[in-house]
Amino acid sequence: MSSETKQILTTDGIPLEVSLKKAEKKNKIKAFLLVAPLLLFLVITYIFPIGDMFMRSVDDRMVTNMLPKTFKAMEKWENLDELPPEEVYRGFYEDYKLLAENQQHGKLGQRLNKEKNGFNTITKKLFRQIKRKKIDESASLKEQINKLHKRWRDVEYWQAIKRTAPPYTASKYLKGMDMYFAADGSIAQVDEDRRIHRILWLRTLEIAFFVTLFCFFMGYPIAHLLATLPMKYSNLLMICVLLPFWTSLLVRTASWMILLQQQGIVNDFFVMTGLVADDNRPEMMYNKVGTYVAMTQILLPFMVLPLYSVMKTISPSLMRAGKSLGGTPFVAFWKVYFPLTIPGIGAGCLLVFILAIGYYITPALVGGASGTLISNQIAFHMKTTLDWSFASAMGLMLLTGVLVIYWIYNKLVGVDNIKLG
């Protein structure tokens, strides 16, 4: 544009371009102000607390704050295969004495005991000696402490204290995968018979995968039927999908508990048809069967609704065209109809999978011991063991998995395409 081109002015004499930009900016701020209350609310009550979960899961400042002098002295401990120098003993003694005065020594003992078994005994011994004032602070503390118990003379115990020095740790995450930091700082596997978490992760994935598969194979035909039937019939049948969708999860779980119990209707039916003997009724609840059946029924509407909304947009003339061009109904379905439904399949499968992977209530009620999933374990640590940092770590591991799936979902289908009812 040459400088001679006459600038277009608004009636106020401001160049149009400037005025337009100003209006745009005003609109931007207006739109943002509308979103701001919810955004602020969610950031404070939801997003930050998830960050807080992360901080809790890696936080290991307790010992760091309890033994400041010890760790300061340990900086001078050079040969880690030998017992630490006198300064470390003195630092530890002074820190411990202070903790004992404040009644905090028990916590330290428990925490160190987690790091290396047997710590609780020897710290208690030290506590009794301090209480009876049997320790001469002017003499060598190294000799006196070493005399208390042979474990104090074992360098591994001092190495364990040193390992607790960093204020942050990934040990909770390793624990969630049945691994731990070994004495020399390398990552080691938990003994095979104690690997409970890996089993839970695999079981969670397995159940989520199969529930998704079952939902797909059951949901696809009925979504197709609903989409192709005339409106007056399909509206009626749609109730069969929507009523469970709107009904309380606990109500549906309760009805499965009634149906699947040993004297329940499903078993009655099996006995009646002669499939099983009356005195040999199979256990269908409190195991994986119960979890699969109940979760499939509960999550099925989440598969049917996205499939239906996609299938509804496919014109029936496409199938007719396929057939008239010489395809058998099967070929026409497979080559024409099925590819068009893929967005719906993606949406439905990922929705069901994401919901199934975080399931908690139904597995806890009908799953029994072999039906518990990773969510149950998180709840267990939140409520029973009160190991909140471990619960946070496992929660975040699960969240990472879900976010990856969600990201794929977003790439394939787009978040905006979620349809409800």
């Binding site: 609109n27 207006k30 739109a31 943002f32 509308l34 979103v35 701001a36 209350p37 919810l38 955004l39 609310f41 969610l42 950031v43 009550t45 939801y46 997003i47 607390p49 998830i50 979960m53 809790r56 059951m218 035909p221 039927l225 069969c240 929507l242 009523l243 469970p244 709107w246 009904t247 309380s248 999860l249 606990l250 109500v251 549906r252 779980t253 009805s255 009634i258 149906l259 119990q261 004297q263 209707i265 029924q297 994401i354 908690y360 209530i361 969510s375 998180i378 709840a379 409520k383 909140w388 946070s392 929660g395 975040l396 699960l398 969240l399 976010l403 969600y406 978040v415 409800l420 009812g421």
Partner: protein, 284 residues
């Protein structure tokens, strides 16, 4: 779905198999809900159909579990129902207000960072409930709101807003913005325009989002289990406790009431959807 007369036998067979599969799936979806009705009228204490019930003997049926639900001694259901309704109503109002405002902002074409903000706003729907529960519990514990109604209402607003945001943005996507400009050119201020023009047009979307938020709150148990004290017990929490300890027919009476409530909600949601489609000029 009648088949044309020229259909080959094998496709005819396949078609009947297909109908059979569909019937089975529909049965699988809906039948479990109907088991609860008759059993909740059981005169006995067991959760199986008694001989009397199978023979349709009137004495085998009774309302005793409904009486127990309402008048039973040391009965938690009254308090639970009161709490559930109070919490759900406030959570719904909160979700509607925050969610509708946000949806209006998000639907503006001037909105910056639309993608990431939308993702943040609907994240509570995607994040597994157990994780939301842990995170919200940490916040409420710090803010001193654990075991209070306020805390649970706030938690349910978090979980309910994504539904309002989604339904209202969907309604607004078919919204003709020239009507608001027309109102503005005729001298209406933005608030007036919203109340008189925009809101009536998007109302079906707002209400159906509100219904989702209501059901989410009314049915929510994972987060409440973390947050609730004895005073804040809700219907789902009571059902959860009841189902874990022992299945009593009183639970089935409650469940029957809940199914009736969800039927009511389903009907209103369906009516709203039709109205919304009519208003937006979608004819099918």
């Amino acid at each position: 779905m009648a088949l044309p007369s020229y259909t080959e036998t094998r496709y005819r067979i396949w078609h009947y198999i297909y109908i059979a599969i569909c019937s089975f799936v529909f049965f699988f979806l809906i039948a479990p809900l109907f088991v609860i009705f008759p059993l909740s009228f059981n005169a006995e204490e067991f959760l199986v159909f008694s001989e009397g019930m199978k023979n349709l003997d009137p004495d085998a049926f009774s309302l005793r579990w409904y009486k127990d639900m309402i008048y039973g001694t040391k009965n938690p259901w009254g308090l639970a129902a009161k709490n559930s309704f109070i919490i759900a109503i406030f959570a719904t109002i909160g979700s509607i207000i925050l969610g509708t405002l946000a949806a209006l902002g998000l639907s503006s074409r001037h909105m910056p960072y639309k993608g990431i903000i939308m993702a943040t706003l609907i994240s509570p729907m995607i994040v597994p409930l157990i994780i939301s529960g842990v995170a919200i519990f940490f916040f409420m514990a710090k803010a001193g709101l654990a075991a209070t109604h306020t805390g649970i209402v706030l938690a349910h607003i978090i979980l309910g807003t994504p539904f309002v945001v989604i339904t209202v943005t969907a309604t607004l996507s078919g919204f003709d913005h020239s009507v608001t400009r027309a109102a503005a050119s005729l001298g209406s201020n933005p608030v007036n325009t919203f109340m008189k023009i925009t809101l009536p047009l998007i109302l079906p979307g707002v209400i159906s989002g509100g219904l989702f938020a209501f059901v989410t709150s009314f049915d929510e148990v994972v987060v409440v289990l973390f947050l609730a004290g004895l005073e804040n017990t809700t219907i789902p929490v009571q059902m959860w406790t009841g189902l874990r300890e022992q299945l009593s027919p009183t639970i089935l009476a409650v469940a029957t009431c809940l199914i009736l409530l969800s039927t009511l909600i389903l009907v209103s949601a369906e009516l709203l959807r039709r109205r919304s489609e009519r208003l937006r000029g979608i004819n099918r």
